[in-house]
């Protein structure tokens, strides 16, 4: 069966747009939640600058819970919540909710690791200078960890692309959905190949940009 490009072309275009929307918005919201999460996990831990066992332990447990649920199950499990937030549980925008809930805790952990890599001497220095906790985070911890944070975000973005391909399950559309509906269910191998190649290019691009930025910032 030959591929009808007059029909398939716009379909492909829509799928790319849907993937970009899911990954783009998903990343923005995941960062908005994930970065503060990572910072809080670092400063509240034992011997952190704002040590608080209750906050640290509860956040850590919550993160672990969300990180243990397989994405495909998470999508279904939080349908009521998704409906509450965006008014529907079907479609590209609805898919962003589970994507964020899946990715934000992951980013939180990655950011936590990046920040923990910062030499304790830097924190000591900041305290000796009379920096406030906020200044320590903003002026010392985050800038010193920036190279590593960018690499972490790169990894998370690639994970997000993978997850977004699964979001077709709730009618999220995107390249993954295209591959399943046309490539798998309708035996159009060409479509399958096109989508996979597109995803590969996408991932390569993100990784290269991430490496480049990190290299520029990291000076160790």
């Amino acid at each position: 069966m030959a591929l009808d490009w007059s029909y398939f072309g716009p379909e492909l275009r829509t799928a790319i747009e849907q993937t970009l929307l899911m990954v783009g918005l998903g990343l923005v919201f995941s960062l908005i939640i994930g970065i503060p999460l990572g910072v809080i996990l670092v400063v509240t831990r034992e011997n952190g600058i704002l040590q608080n066992k209750t906050i640290f332990t509860s956040l850590s447990v919550i993160v672990n819970i969300f990180r243990s649920i397989p994405f495909i199950i998470l999508i279904v499990a939080i349908i009521p919540f998704t409906r509450l937030i965006v008014g529907t549980s079907i479609g590209t925008v609805a898919a962003i909710v589970p994507l964020v809930i899946f990715t934000a805790p992951y980013i939180g952990r990655l950011i936590e690791n990046s920040l923990l890599e910062v030499d304790h001497g830097v924190i000591e220095l900041a305290q000796a200078m009379g920096a406030t906790p906020w200044q320590i985070i903003w002026r010392f911890l985050l800038p010193e960890a920036l190279g590593s944070i960018i690499l972490a975000i790169t990894i998370a973005t690639i994970g997000l692309i993978g997850a977004s391909a699964m979001a077709g399950a709730v009618g999220g559309g995107g390249l993954g959905d295209l591959a399943i509906v046309y490539g798998y269910q309708q035996f159009q191998t060409v479509v399958m190949i096109i989508t996979v190649v597109l995803l590969i290019i996408f991932v390569q691009l993100i990784q290269s940009i991430g490496n480049l930025l990190a290299k520029k910032i990291r000076r160790k």
């Binding site: 001497g121 830097v122 000796a128 009379g130």
Partner: protein, 346 residues
């Protein structure tokens, strides 16, 4: 200026309980360079961190210019810390920032206007001799240059005190000398009081006015550098002094002396210490001319402490006991310390 009163620091609880500091009291005067020396694990890192409360003492008090730091609120303490500069063994520079930005950090934190920061940082970089490195990053600098950045940064907010945490321990001997010279300049030109901890006795010898020896969380000995070096009391202090002033008789010479002593009872060994003016005396030749004895120098060193020459000799006198008594009383009149050396224990 800086007073520590009976500082105790305990880490952990029950079976894991470690008492790092066991009642440390120190008094450091305005403009002094005070050195605390000890082996690693003696508690000196904890001690210096108790001064700016990076470590909270379990008990005891820290006063700076009469202010009890423990009574301050968090924000008052931050303000007080800006008057206490600190430099570190590993420099603790911000790798992602230029030399200029590193030095500017304390001023940025303090919310100073941009023009003031620009002016101040340039003046500081010129003070430490790094004006040409402003735009470089720490990974482009040598160890000595990194510590200079650290010093410039520590001076940014015009501190009254500079805390030096093993500031030269990661540096080679030549670089150590240049950093010590810079620290001396900080004291001499800016009048900043310096507290330094180190395990290197040459650092103490070269720039400190006073020294305290810390061992097992206790100050075992303290005093002026000249006094402690010339007459160390504790065994650990003697060991530290020996790393600089070798007063031990070399084994081969010791063996010879013992052999000789068995043949000849009228052999006497003395340790003679000269300080300051007395090093200029032609003491030995005078003795040899004036008294009917022979003089034999076994071992000796002369160093400079605090710009004062300090000599240390081990001398053998051969002659009648009565003549030797006369010699000893003559030496003592010259304000030179002399002590008999036990040949078997020496």
């Amino acid at each position: 200026m800086l007073v520590l009163k009976d500082i105790h620091k305990v880490y952990g609880k029950d079976s894991k309980r470690v008492e790092a500091l066991k009642g440390i009291s120190l008094e450091i005067g305005q403009g002094e360079i005070f050195g605390v020396i000890g082996f690693s694990g003696a508690g000196k890192s904890t001690l210096i961190r108790c001064v700016n409360l990076l470590e909270r003492p379990t008990s005891g008090e820290v006063f700076i210019d009469g202010v009890n730091l423990q009574h301050l609120t968090a924000s008052q303490l931050r303000k007080e810390r800006k008057k206490i500069g600190m430099i570190f063994q590993q420099f603790n520079l911000l790798n992602a920032k230029t030399v200029f930005k590193n030095v500017a950090m304390p001023l940025i934190i303090d919310g100073r206007p941009k023009e003031e920061i620009e002016k101040r940082v340039n003046a500081l970089l010129s003070f430490v001799g790094l004006s040409d490195k402003a735009k470089q990053y720490p990974d482009q600098l040598s160890g000595g240059q990194k510590q200079r950045v650290g010093i410039a940064r520590a001076l940014a907010t015009d501190p009254h005190i500079l805390l030096c945490d093993e500031a030269t321990s990661a540096l080679d001997p030549d670089t150590t000398q240049s950093i010590l010279a810079l620290l001396k300049k900080v004291r001499d030109e800016l009048g900043i009081t310096i507290l330094m901890i180190t395990h290197e006795m040459n650092v103490i010898r070269d720039i400190c006015d006073k020294v305290a020896v810390i061992d097992g969380g206790v100050i075992v000995e303290q005093g002026s550098v000249l006094d402690v070096f010339s007459e160390p009391q504790q065994e650990i202090t003697k060991n530290f002094v020996r790393t600089i002033i070798n007063d031990a008789i070399p084994p081969t010479i010791k063996a010879l002396i013992k052999e000789k002593h068995q043949e000849n009872d009228s052999m006497y060994l003395y340790r003679v210490l000269f300080k300051g003016q007395s090093t200029h005396l032609p003491l030995l030749s005078t003795i040899a001319k004036r008294f009917p004895i022979d003089v034999n120098v076994i071992h000796g060193t002369i160093t400079e402490l605090q710009g004062i020459p300090f000599g240390h000799l081990i001398i053998e006198f051969q002659g009648e006991p009565s003549a030797i008594e006369q010699v000893l009383s003559y030496i003592r009149q010259q304000e030179v310390t002399v002590r008999e050396v036990d040949i078997h224990g020496a």
